[in-house]
Every structure is written in structure tokens, then in C-alpha cells.
Amino acid sequence: MTDISAQTEALGGLLTRDRIVRWAPVLVLVALVLLFPFFEFLADLVEGKEHVYLLDSRFFSIRNGARIGIAATPALMVAVGATFIIIMGSIDLSMEGTISVCAVLFAFAFLGWGGTLASWAWLAIPLALVVGALLGFVNGMIHVRLKIPSFMASLAMGFVGTGLALLLTGGDRLRVEDELFRSLLTVRWLNFPIMCYVALAFLLLAWFIQSHTALGRNFYAVGGGEQLAQSSGLNVARVRIMGFTLAGIFFAVGALLAVGRIGIAETATGNNFMFVSITAVVVGGTALWGGIGGVWNTLVGVLIVNVINNGMVVIGLPPYVQDGVLGTLVILAVALSTNRKSVTFVK
């Protein structure tokens, strides 16, 4: 999207308020990436060790970048799914249950059909995606047909999912130890494990859907002004249901990567994903009231959250202040990336 107002101003062309707001998440990310090495630099300075800023940083290294990448990829997929919903001005909180069900069913099928990608067990991957889509579809139907707010419908579906996963496993954990499948984590190309590239591919797919398909543009139309979209002849109900279905598929991809990362599928696989993904979407600059933002914002948001989490441990911040710092930084990031002039009210 080009910004016409910014181009017309000659001097302020580079630094208009709009542009700063748009790039605020990236600036926050860059600032954080430079901030944590600075703390390392200070620590070594105090101890009298030799330390060239950035060059000697353990945080600012490719190895650590890969570690942040591993931590971020499943959350990125989940957050991308949630992005579509949030662009529509709705919210999807069903991810934890959906992830658990997809992970558990994937593991059952994978182990049952041969236990290695080199057999028919690979079919477990499309199965997991179908299950994710199905759960998302049901979620959307409940939201649209029963006219239950997406917040409540998806939250409830999440609980149903967690319960279903528990019912399926009986509380046990399933180990997926196939070397071929685990190569997602163990095999590296250019220092990064394969799971990062898989996530990148799906991110590009999400970007394509968002900007090059009618469905993607309809998400913005619904989020920007639902009644306007409705009266222009858009089948809003259909767009919503398709949005939730699409989100379900991305949750399933997140589930597969989460299983690939630790080799375990269990009811707890979905734990913590709700907080991380919604936070990441919002921190990235996608507005909760819809119509603004996109998957690249979400990428930046996920990276911000994971850089903070990783950096706090790397600089040795005591555990009891970490949650507080994370919360503060989230507020800061959202405050910077919100254009308050364009928002008349916040609910």
C-alpha cells in the first residue's frame, strides 16, 4: 500500500507520523535487537572483559537467531491464522484446543500408519490440516449461524478441543521419533533448521492469500466496515466462515511444527499459544478493531515477543521481573504502533 499523503510532503516525506506508526513495530524490533547486546556489553564492561559491541555478543549471533527461529515458528503459524480473523475485526481464541487435537490426531495417524514419513504415514500431515480446517469451519459456523460473538464461540471451541484431545489420549503423551519427520528440527540449511523454511513458505502463502485473492481482500472489507461490505453485496457470513476455516489450517500447521520441535504430541501441546499469538498479532500492529495490518506485521510481532523472551534470559534478567517486563514492552509496542488519531473510540 502506498501512502499518498506522505509522498506529497517534500521535507517530512520520510518521517511522517503515519509512516512512523506503520514502521513502529519494525523499529521496536530493531531497537530490541540492539538493546540486548548492549546489556551484554555493559555486563562484560563491569567485569572488565574485552567486548566489542555486537561483534562479541552471544545474543546477536546466527546461532541464537536460529534458536529464536525455532522458538518462533509454531507461534508464527498460529499467529498468522489469528491475523486473518483479527483483520476481520473478530477474534479467534480456539487455537490451544485446535492445536492439541491436530497434534494428537496427527500423532495417532502417523504412528498407526507406519511411523515414518517414508511410508503411508505421511498422509497424517494432510489429515491434520483437514482436521484443523474442520475445527475452524465448525468454529465459524457456530459464530455465524448461532450468532455467538467470535470471542465466546472460539473460546468455547478451544475448550471443546482441549477436552477432545484429553479424551483421545487419556492424558498420555505420544512420541513421534521418526528421524525424517524430526529433521524439521535436526537438519539445518544455512544455519537454520528446516522448520523455519517451512514456516517461511506458509508465511508467503498467507501473504499471497491476503493480498492476491478475493478472499484476502474481503477480510479487509469486512474488518474495515462490515455493513458497507454487506450492502455492497458481499456475503459476509461466508467470508467469516472461510476465514475461520483458513485460521484452523494455519493452527494445524503450527501444531505440526510444535510436534516436530519437541517430538511429543499431547493435550498440553497447545498450551500458551493463545497468549503468544494474540500478543504477537497486536504488537505487530494489526489493530484489534479490524481492517488494519497483515501477515508481515504478525511476523514482526512474533519476532518481537520471542526476541524479548530469549533476550531476557540471555542478559540474565531475574525470572520474577520477566513477566512484568514483557507486559510493559507489549504496552509500549502497541502504543507506538497505534495511530490514535484514526481511532475515535476503543472498546
Binding site: 492424558g171 498440553a268 501441546t269 500458551n272 542478559i315
Partner: protein, 369 residues
């Protein structure tokens, strides 16, 4: 309005006590029951409802506890569905409300095994049970000033585990394995959880005897595999090869640590806690140096069994010594040498326990600091 409710509750209890007392022909028992322990055997029941109140089954540990409760119920020749499940989902309020509801439904003819979710909640739960004439055995949570022997027969027993000693022993196994020098990191449970605190304390106690080993860092991983993997990755960034050993607060954290090490192609000895089947496999493969099994299956079964057998009158709790009322649960160390044997004996074939051998595997009376 609560005073009305309380009045009605008290009236109900007094009436029942009066009827029971008449039935037993013991005058005055009704009055005495209202004011603390009674020298006479509290009312017993032919076929009390058996219930387990706990967080939920998502966690493998609680799943084991409850499966023990089910095994006990089956040993009575009943279907395992006979066991009533009260699931508190981590809410003390729900825990207490559910217990009160079940007491009302069963008229106090109840044998209850419970983890009250947090320590302060144990007192109201116990008092509600005692007042209704039900029998209760607690597990894990209670305050230090609450004792079964202060409640006559109805508060049957309390079992818990002290994790400090066993965690210290696994720490020593780890520190010996790294040759008594280098650096260790600790990944803990939820910071405010008692077992998490005790397990870290165990490591710190052991470290006193190993001056050449530095505790590089300790961070809470909230008992969560994925969080543990992320924290371990951050530790690797910060300390790299300085890390020569990892002390984990439980098995699920250990799995995450192993995966983080695997992603880096690193091989560092680790010890864990809980003795879950997967961890025991990993011990047998030599990937984990040691874990501690606390036999939750037995713990869950015996807690229900104590409440039940007291409720039917097979033994009189107030005749038992204090070490039979408050005691530590069993701890069994699993190391590579005995992992396979342990697995065959305890996990692959869950032993058929004698559920009336209440105190055989236990570990002595609870000591307060």
C-alpha cells in the same frame, strides 16, 4: 443470607447426628460431635461413595494418581466408574463447592480423597467433611497447623512428599557425573509451587559439597516441555559450553531440555524427577542420568483406600499413631543400571497393590521445619 444457610446446614447435621446417635444408642454423641474429636468411633457406612477431587487429567502425573484411585475401586469388585471425580481445574473455590455439593448429595456417606489445590483450602474442606460425618484423606496440600489427629476419625490421613532430599540425591548423581567441576543450570517448575522450590533447594544443598561447580542460572520453566526447550536454548546462547550439566525440576521439563540440546548437537548430562514412563526409557537409553519415581499410582489408590476403609470401619484412625496419619509418600530412584528392571516391575506391569497395606511403602512421619 449466609447465616441462614449455615443454620440450616447445622440443623441438618445435628438432626442426622441425633438419629445416628440414637441408632447407636449413645446419648450425647451428637452434641460431642459438634465440638471436636469424639472418644467413640464416628459413624461408619456400609457402602460409602468414593470420590477423588483433583485438578484434571491433562497432566500425566494426576492421570496416574487417578488411575490408582480407579484401580483401588476395582479391587473392591466395583466398576471403575464407581469412583466419583471432582475436577477443580485449579480453582480452590470450585474444589470446596464440589465437596460441599457431594456431601449434601451423599448425606455424608462419603470416602473422599482430595488434593485441595492449595494449602489454605484444606481446612474448610476438612471441616466440611468432619461436620457432615464423611471421611477424608488429603494429598499434597495442607497448612502446617492442620493435623488429622485434631479431628478424631473423620480426617483420616495426609500424605505428601518432601522433594528436597531426593532432588539433592539426583543432583549429586549429576555433579559426580561431571567430575565435580563445571557449571550447571536448573530449569524449575512454576516458581511458587512447593515442589519447584524444594527441588531447587535440593540442588543448592548438594552444590555446597561441590565448590568447583557453579550454579550458572535457574529459571522457571513452568513444568512445560515447550517452555523448557526455549529457556534451554537461551541458556545455551548465554553460557554455551560453560554448561556441563542440567538439573530439571521434572521429566516434562527434561524432554524440552533434551530437544534443545539435540537441536544444537550438544550432549550434556541431565537429571529429572517424577519417573514418567518416557523418562524411564530415556534413563535406560542413557540420555537421562537419573529420575525419581514417587509412585503416584500407589499414592492415588492408597489415599482413596485409607478414606474408604476408615469409612466402612475396617480400622479406627484415632487408634493409629501419628506417623500413620501424616506421612511421606514413597520415592524410588531410577538410574541407567536399574531402569529396565524398574520399568518391567512398575510401569509395564502395574503391580497389584495390597490396598490395605496402608503404610508399607510410605516414608515416615512428616517433619515440619
Amino acid at each position: 443470607m449466609s447465616f441462614i444457610k449455615k443454620f440450616i446446614e447445622q440443623e441438618t447435621v445435628s438432626r442426622r447426628n441425633f438419629l445416628l446417635a440414637s441408632a447407636y444408642g449413645i446419648s450425647g454423641a451428637a452434641a460431642m460431635r459438634m465440638f471436636g474429636p469424639s472418644p467413640v468411633q464416628a459413624a461408619t457406612y456400609a457402602d460409602p461413595t468414593i470420590a477423588w477431587s483433583y485438578r484434571n487429567r491433562t497432566n500425566p502425573y494426576w492421570n496416574e494418581i487417578v488411575s490408582g484411585g480407579e484401580a483401588f475401586v476395582e479391587s473392591l469388585g466395583k466398576q471403575k466408574e464407581f469412583l466419583t471425580h471432582l475436577i477443580n481445574e485449579g480453582s480452590s473455590e470450585k474444589s470446596l463447592a464440589d465437596v460441599k455439593a457431594l456431601l449434601a448429595k451423599t448425606n455424608g456417606e462419603l470416602a473422599l480423597a482430595i488434593d485441595t489445590n492449595d494449602a489454605p483450602n484444606a481446612r474448610p474442606v476438612v471441616e466440611a467433611c468432619v461436620e457432615a460425618g464423611a471421611y477424608v484423606s488429603t494429598l499434597w496440600n495442607k497448612t502446617d497447623d492442620l493435623h488429622p489427629w485434631d479431628f478424631g476419625d473423620n480426617y483420616v490421613s495426609h500424605m505428601t512428599w518432601s522433594d528436597e532430599g531426593p532432588a539433592e540425591r539426583t543432583a549429586r548423581i549429576l555433579l559426580d557425573a561431571i567430575g565435580g567441576k563445571g557449571g550447571v543450570v536448573h530449569l524449575g517448575g512454576i516458581a511458587s509451587n512447593n515442589p519447584a522450590i524444594e527441588r531447587l533447594d535440593g540442588l543448592k544443598n548438594a552444590l555446597k559439597d561441590y565448590p568447583d561447580v557453579e550454579l550458572l542460572d535457574a529459571q522457571p520453566a513452568d513444568w512445560d516441555t515447550q517452555k523448557a526447550a526455549q529457556i534451554m536454548a537461551s541458556f545455551i546462547t548465554r553460557y554455551g559450553d560453560e554448561i556441563t550439566g542440567v538439573h530439571c525440576a521434572n521429566d516434562t521439563i527434561g524432554y524440552g531440555v533434551l530437544e534443545a540440546l539435540r537441536a544444537e548437537g550438544m550432549d550434556v548430562p541431565i537429571v529429572t524427577y517424577d519417573g514418567n514412563p518416557q523418562a524411564v526409557d530415556l534413563v535406560a537409553e542413557g540420555k537421562i542420568l537419573a529420575t525419581v519415581f514417587t509412585n503416584p499410582h500407589w499414592g492415588g489408590g492408597i489415599t482413596a483406600s485409607l478414606a474408604y476403609h476408615a469409612a466402612v470401619g475396617h480400622f479406627k484412625p484415632s487408634d493409629e499413631p501419628n506417623e500413620h496419619r501424616e506421612f511421606y509418600g514413597p520415592t524410588i530412584f531410577v538410574t541407567p543400571d536399574d531402569a529396565r528392571e524398574f520399568k518391567t516391575n512398575y510401569l509395564e506391569n502395574v503391580p497389584t497393590y495390597d490396598w490395605q497395606d496402608f503404610w508399607g511403602p510410605s516414608n515416615g512421619q512428616i517433619m515440619y521445619k
